[in-house]
Symmetry: C2
Subunit: 407 residues, 2 copies
């Protein structure tokens, strides 16, 4: 079960975006697994994708189409990643786009395909042929929650968020959904996320806005260090809100929008960690004192240490494992001074100046580790940058989920 | 239980090396946890230690003493790492050496201390005061197996190996013992290992010999990616065998010795993996086609992927996870050509030219994954270097061992 997180039941619609879902029978019985999203013709779209070299066929086709035409539809399936599927996988992804294009009277290049699920199996393309025409008839602006449910794989709760912000006296809406639970590591989007706003924002400013927000949100979470072949995050701006277009990153309205976007994507990112496979705890790791990249490297080393993660699962205040992880982080020696290292967990100071705090009591450490939400603050030197990474613990259920079920 | 590995019951003594063990009550009840090793005065010694920045007090003192004097005694305790213990930890390590020096009539600088166990607790130094004088009286050349037992922490079997090789018509003996089970990753010795030979080998040739052998053995195993604060491997050459000293690396006798040493240390290294925490399978990963460092990086990425490790635990031929791990390995793009990638598991060809082999049958993959010993051969491009990494699967027992017990 997700860590202090319930399935969403309500999201704000975004003018200019319509969604439809259905149970196409791609992998799962008795649940929706296919989503169609159509966009108003005036929309601009931004896209970031996995950096994994073995990108799936839909990732390749989405990138190609994104460079050719303005996207006006997205088609997403869960249960099958269409990855490692060779030329037939590419042909299948192209046919998905062609089916959507035919149903919505678009060019195939105006359609972006997304897939998530098992790697190495071919898409049951006949199921798409049956489902897409029906889907196209069910498009509705109120189907965000249904879409959040339909894109789930090992997720245990449907995840999404809406934010509203006043710009030029108008209420601007941002709504996003996300799926992701395992195979999560900061190397781009590390899951599927779809966000839309009715603000009018020009491309490439929208692209810049998305990349900035992702860099400090989705790219700052890790569950198991494994990056997916299928990750993608797309941001759509329909421009339906009645304000003049935002085209410049010096525009104060852009800063306001960017702040709201980062807030929204951070919530989506943290909710992915709360729903991490087998998670029983939610952990925020703040590392300060070195440059940003070094701080993030130390934070990731702690976040990915199986020994740290199992100690957190066990509520065992075994801080030595955190110290050992800091000690092996792959950063240059001028970024860390072991005589300045400090570790504070949920406000309990455990290590100062590289040594155990003299009046530290294990009972205090125990109380901190007993919490469901852990905040680990590590200082590695006297610099002034800080990086934050969110992660989960490593539990028996992580093993069960990934050993007993082909996800 | 260890994967197809039993506790050793016999090891060849090495002339010039005597050992003693006792139950000093450092952490465990009813078992030996303290080892003393004394060396003949003519011995040369080589030493490699952890690269973790937070090296434990005994690691620091061993390095200091090693640079000052020729080692003539080693003292090793299990159950307490004396790491993260500040100045008192350093003082305790120094006192251990002084106690041994007094008992054996040596300088404290001629003693190397080693500790393994829980991080962040002070050594019960009074137990050492009681035990060391008695230990010194029990020294015997036949106590190698007892020593292998006494240095264990979460190890389930005592691990060691003897090799004999004829040089100049004389039988040269090499005997080594090792402890290590978790917190294992190639970043130096990644455990404690003590090896002795009666061959006469000059320092620094002995040091070079050890570093070369460790680089392709102990530095090629990984269990969980966590490096210890206390790792060390020491190689002793007593010179008691009746051949003339080996002082030059062009000496053909050196090559013969080096071959035997690498063979011995590789066995020790692989046995650590067979006894890895929670291991149910032993996995050899061979990556070829790029330069050595890139091959090793890909091999480590596969070896450390929790998703690959859980699939192996489950005997699930989920080869897509291996492909995804190859795709995210941190190597430069000129070292990999995804259209040349191949994956063969226990001689079952699964991926060729970056795609699923057309006549691959899941039943064949299943048969390969059902094996207790897995060999994963990955080719990433057309280069001619190869790197091998040995690892284990990730099981429920790994979680239990590290969550339920403070190791």
């Amino acid at each position: 079960m997700a860590v202090e997180l319930d399935s969403i039941t309500q999201l704000q619609p975004v003018a200019g975006v319509k969604l439809a879902t259905c149970a196409a029978g791609i992998r799962y019985a008795d649940r929706s697994d296919l989503v169609l999203i159509s966009l108003d013709k005036a929309s601009t779209t931004a896209l970031v994708q996995t950096q994994n070299r073995f990108s799936a066929a839909p990732v390749q086709i989405a990138a190609r189409h994104f460079n050719i035409a303005k996207p006006l539809a997205l088609v997403i399936n869960a249960g099958n990643a269409n990855a490692g599927t060779g030329q037939k996988g590419v042909d299948d992804a192209l046919e998905c786009c062609a089916l959507v294009a035919a149903a919505l009277d678009l060019l195939p290049e105006q359609v972006l395909p997304f897939s998530t699920g098992v790697i190495g199996e071919h898409l049951p393309i006949d199921r798409f042929r049956d489902a897409v025409p029906t889907l196209a008839k069910g498009l509705d602006r109120h189907h965000w929650v249904e879409a959040a449910n339909a894109i789930m794989t090992t997720d245990t709760v449907a995840k999404g968020e809406s934010v509203q912000v006043k710009i030029d006296g108008q209420l601007v809406t941002l709504t996003g959904i996300v799926k992701g639970s395992g195979m999560i590591h900061p190397d781009m989007a590390t899951m599927l996320a779809f966000i839309a706003t009715d603000a009018p924002i020009a491309q490439p400013l929208l692209q810049q806005s998305l990349e900035l927000a992702v860099d400090r949100s989705l790219n700052c979470i890790t569950v198991d260090g494994d990056t997916s072949t299928n990750d993608a995050c797309s941001l759509i701006a329909t421009g339906k809100c009645d304000i003049s277009p935002i085209v410049d990153n010096r525009d104060p309205r852009y800063k306001k929008f960017q702040f709201a976007l980062r807030d929204l994507i951070s919530t989506l990112a943290k909710n992915v960690v709360r729903d991490a496979e087998g998670a029983t705890k939610f952990v925020e790791i703040n590392v300060s004192g070195a440059d940003y990249d070094a701080c993030k490297s130390v934070a990731n080393t702690i976040a990915l240490s199986p020994l740290v993660k199992t100690a957190i699962f066990a509520s065992d205040p075994n801080w030595g494992r955190i110290l050992a992880a800091v000690g092996r982080a792959p950063i240059s020696s001028d970024q860390i001074d072991m005589h300045e290292v400090s570790i504070i967990i949920n406000d309990v100071s455990i290590v100062q100046a590289g040594e155990l705090v003299s009046d530290y009591h294990e009972a205090d450490g125990q109380a901190a580790f007993n919490c469901t939400n852990l905040k680990i603050d590590v200082r590695v030197a006297s610099g002034n940058k800080l990086a934050t990474v969110w992660t989960s613990d490593l539990s028996h259920d992580y093993i069960s989920i990934n050993a007993d079920y082909r996800s």
